[in-house]
């Protein structure tokens, strides 16, 4: 009988033990002692066998199943089928935390040229997958509905296709409506909370705020809340009132909220310099927000509100194979299954990579739409795009669930060569995973109710967190 590796992390009243394939349980300190002293008793061994933390040897089902579980924790990037397209960098808003350092509305040199469009269409023709997902970013992409329409028209050949237009909804030109009416088009927008906060952060004046709200509500009335995903960007120095923020979403039937701190990119690097690190204030706000969602879900059972990133973490905790969320996966191969085409035809591995280049921090372009991918530059980025061999990560109980983001390291520190625990990515995720496991093992009914809904369970009859004994 062979025992497979377990890593531990202290929780409030127990220890969390996690296997390499992510299967976990909680145990008391006495169990840890028996584990360390080679003194496991009969019950311990039976439990570990049942949970596949022990197996018969290196050939039978137990071992193979464990190996399969490990592979489920690794991203195998498929062929390119996800594009982030930036038809223009121009924008009609001037948000203080703009991550992409938008260009002025009347600028002449920040839209795709005809040739860039032709190259993009040719790239679409070359994709080998039956499905395609395209996200239109900006700037404000709806300043160029003609370019969006041209791309969408070229995708008719795909059996499955989805398009997300990331827009500030400050102005919906007539040409946008035929696009918005399509069943395969979705809207992603920003809603920073109550309207005062939204105006302070983004729209600047009452007219612009009203126009935004009118457009948002018109879209929801016409197409339903399912058409739209919205996310708030939070300035931890001036966070909106939690209930007001939730009301702004729930009142419109928007049930998923991706609570996001100002991102240390673009204009935010100077105007929100404190966003380089996440302070205690942000963490407390985040936790209070989630706890309030739990209370509200318990009080009103007719709909379930969620914080989308926490839902993603929970799914990754309980399930292997959830490797298509490019913000959190491991390894995190860049320039493979998704790609950013910027306004000037430059190719970037991620949206954040183009932001860094735009800010003049480091040029992370990995080619151009005209000449294709510069594989040497891509390989350089991918050489360390994994947490697999990082000495800190190898000791961390959360490694199977976590990811790696070299672009984030470059953005904050100008290097990736840091002890993991000194990076914001690591500190942020340690906090989030600690928080998530605290919820998993919280034994109050409201918390368990929300977690079961976020994980898509039909009923309330099972315990989420396994305990030994």
């Amino acid at each position: 009988m062979m025992r497979l590796p377990l890593r531990s992390r202290a929780m409030d009243d127990a220890f969390l033990l996690v296997g390499d394939s992510g299967r976990f349980f909680a145990a008391d300190e006495a169990f840890i002692d028996r584990l360390l002293d080679d003194g496991l008793d009969v019950d311990d061994i039976a439990f570990l066998r049942r949970q596949s933390h022990m197996c018969e040897g290196t050939s039978g089902l137990g071992w193979l199943s464990h190996a399969h579980g490990l592979t489920q924790r690794w991203t195998r990037a498929g062929p390119l089928d996800y594009l982030i397209l930036v038809p223009t960098l121009r924008c009609n808003l001037t948000c203080s935390y703009c991550q992409v350092s938008r260009a002025a509305l009347d600028s002449q040199a920040h839209d795709w040229t005809d040739q860039t469009l032709a190259h993009v269409l040719a790239l679409l023709d070359r994709l080998e997958t039956p499905s395609v997902k395209i996200e239109f970013q900006g700037g404000e992409p709806l300043l160029r509905p003609d370019l969006i329409a041209a791309v969408i028209a070229r995708c008719e050949r795909f059996a499955e296709r989805s398009f997300v237009i990331c827009t500030n909804l400050s102005h919906l030109p007539d040409a946008a409506w035929p696009l918005l009416e399509r069943d395969d088009v979705w809207i992603s927008t920003s809603l920073d909370g109550d309207l005062a906060t939204h105006q302070a952060n983004r729209t600047a004046n009452a007219d612009a705020t009203n126009a935004f709200v009118r457009n948002l509500d018109t879209l929801i009335d016409r197409f339903g809340a399912g058409k739209i995903s919205a996310l708030p960007t939070i300035d931890p120095a001036r966070p909106p009132d939690i209930d007001a923020l939730i009301d702004a979403y729930a009142g419109r039937g928007l049930t998923s909220i991706f609570l996001r701190q100002v991102n240390y990119h673009g204009f935010a690097r100077k105007r929100h310099a404190d966003s380089r690190t996440q302070g205690e204030a942000w963490r407390l706000y985040y936790e209070a927000f989630v706890r309030r969602l739990i209370e509200r879900n318990w009080a009103a059972r007719d709909r379930v509100l969620e914080e989308s990133y926490l839902t993603l973490l929970l799914k990754r905790i309980f399930r292997g194979g959830h490797n298509r969320h490019v913000d959190l996966r491991n390894p995190n191969p860049m320039g493979m299954d998704y790609l950013v085409v910027d306004h000037d035809g430059q190719l970037y591995p991620t949206d954040e990579a183009r932001m860094l280049s735009r800010s003049g921090v480091i040029d992370l372009a990995i080619g151009t739409i005209a000449d294709g991918i510069d594989t040497a530059r891509r390989d350089a980025l991918n050489a360390h795009a994994t947490n697999q061999y990082d000495p800190d990560c190898q000791r961390c109980a959360y490694q199977p669930y976590c990811g790696r983001d070299v672009v984030d390291d470059l953005a904050r520190y100008g290097t990736i060569d840091l002890p993991r625990h000194e990076t914001e990515f690591c500190r942020k995720h340690l906090h989030l995973f600690d928080f998530a496991f605290g919820l998993i093992y919280a034994n109050d009914a409201p918390t368990q109710y929300s977690l079961r809904r976020w994980l898509g369970l039909a009923g309330d009859g099972i315990e989420l967190g396994l305990r030994h004994p």
Binding site: S65, R319, A458
Partner: protein, 359 residues
């Protein structure tokens, strides 16, 4: 009930396969054309000469692939045109003797692989052909040969093979890794996480351990596996344990089917002893489904009429019962969910059919 066997007279001496001209004729795959006939019988002409078929009262047989037995004066409708529930019985032998077996095994075996292969080659485009027994892998060489011949010639077809998983060996792995087998799904039963209980249900000592070996080989081959569990009064209480076992040890399966008992075969005489009425106690089934969902194991309920399942779990219940042996209660006609419902087996106790609640 749709008849699967019809009376036939034929010139030929030996059994033969024929695909009847479809109506309207589709030009392809035609082996036998209708010469004359009326509403009760028809004469066909094909490669094996003339043959006459008694037409079923309620069934249109145009386009069917038949196996005609001149000596027995019968024809089997092997692949019914337009049906999604065509299943070929390749043997009636089995090396398990499950307490609830719906198709109790026989000692004799009639090797029909050559004829069945011929039939599969004539199948409607895009069909999933079911293979059942007995235990098909008792004749593994012939079975795999048939699968490979058919799937090589017909890239549009797929197989779903029911197997007890007692006969896969390490030496099969390379063969099963062939890309052809991406179009094969193996439906393999597991009744409990405890070896002793599983072995008792299948009446074969060591079956659980042998099954684990087979599953290891199938995993190495990258096989598509549908795990199947029939709910019995013997195992219903340990379904949550089984779900944890599946999550911990069998995470590589494609889907887990939890199946309600079929009142035929051995189960018929042991109904009171074996049947668990989930209308009165659904909790262990609900827990099993929740545990599977929690760990990303896709699961579904077979043979659970929708109105007998708590609303939150109806999403798992599929219209699983094959068309030819499915029936509904009278009140079901008023039900808005009938099209998505499994209905009942033809041979299900009639009293239950009276108890449906139209949705």
């Amino acid at each position: 009930m749709i008849p699967l066997m019809i009376d036939a007279d034929a010139d030929a001496d030996a059994p033969f396969v024929a695909r009847l001209a479809s109506d309207p004729p589709d030009g392809s795959l035609l082996t036998a054309r209708r010469v004359t006939g009326d509403s009760r019988s028809a004469i066909y002409s094909g490669d094996a000469g003339l043959f006459e078929l008694a037409l079923p009262m309620d069934g249109n047989i145009a386009g069917d692939v038949l196996l005609v037995h001149p000596q027995r004066r019968r024809a089997e409708r092997l692949l019914r045109h337009g049906s999604a529930h065509n299943t070929l019985l390749v043997t009636e032998r089995c090396d398990q003797l499950c307490v609830m077996c719906s198709q109790p095994p026989k000692k004799t075996h009639e090797d029909r692989f050559a004829l069945l292969t011929e039939a599969c080659l004539l199948a409607d485009p895009g069909q999933v052909i079911g293979i059942t027994g007995g235990e098909p892998t008792l004749f593994k060489a012939q079975l795999l040969g048939m699968i490979e011949t058919v799937l090589t010639a017909r890239p549009d077809l797929r197989f779903h093979v029911l197997s007890n998983g007692q006969h896969f060996a390490a030496t099969d792995i390379d063969r099963l890794r062939s890309p052809l087998y991406q179009r094969v799904e193996w439906g393999i039963p597991l009744y409990a996480a405890a070896a002793a209980l599983h072995d008792r249900i299948v009446a074969k000592e060591g079956a659980f351990a042998r099954l684990e070996d087979s599953l290891a080989h199938l995993l190495m081959a990258g096989a598509n596996i549908e795990l199947r569990t029939v709910v019995l009064s013997h195992n219903v209480d340990v379904l949550p344990n089984l779900a944890r076992h599946v999550a911990a040890r069998l995470g590589f399966i494609g889907v887990w089917s939890i199946m309600q008992l079929e009142n035929i075969g051995f189960a018929r005489n042991r109904w009171q002893e074996l049947y668990h009425d989930h209308r009165h106690q659904f909790d262990p089934i609900a827990a099993a489904l929740d545990i599977a969902t929690l760990h990303g194991i896709g699961s579904r309920l077979f043979n659970f009429p929708l109105c007998t399942v708590p609303p939150a779990y109806r999403q798992f219940a599929t219209a699983s019962i094959s068309d030819w042996k499915r029936r509904f209660g009278e009140a079901c006609d008023a039900c808005s969910a009938k099209a998505d419902c499994s209905g009942f087996f033809e041979w299900h106790p009639a009293a239950n059919l009276m108890e449906v609640i139209p949705l």
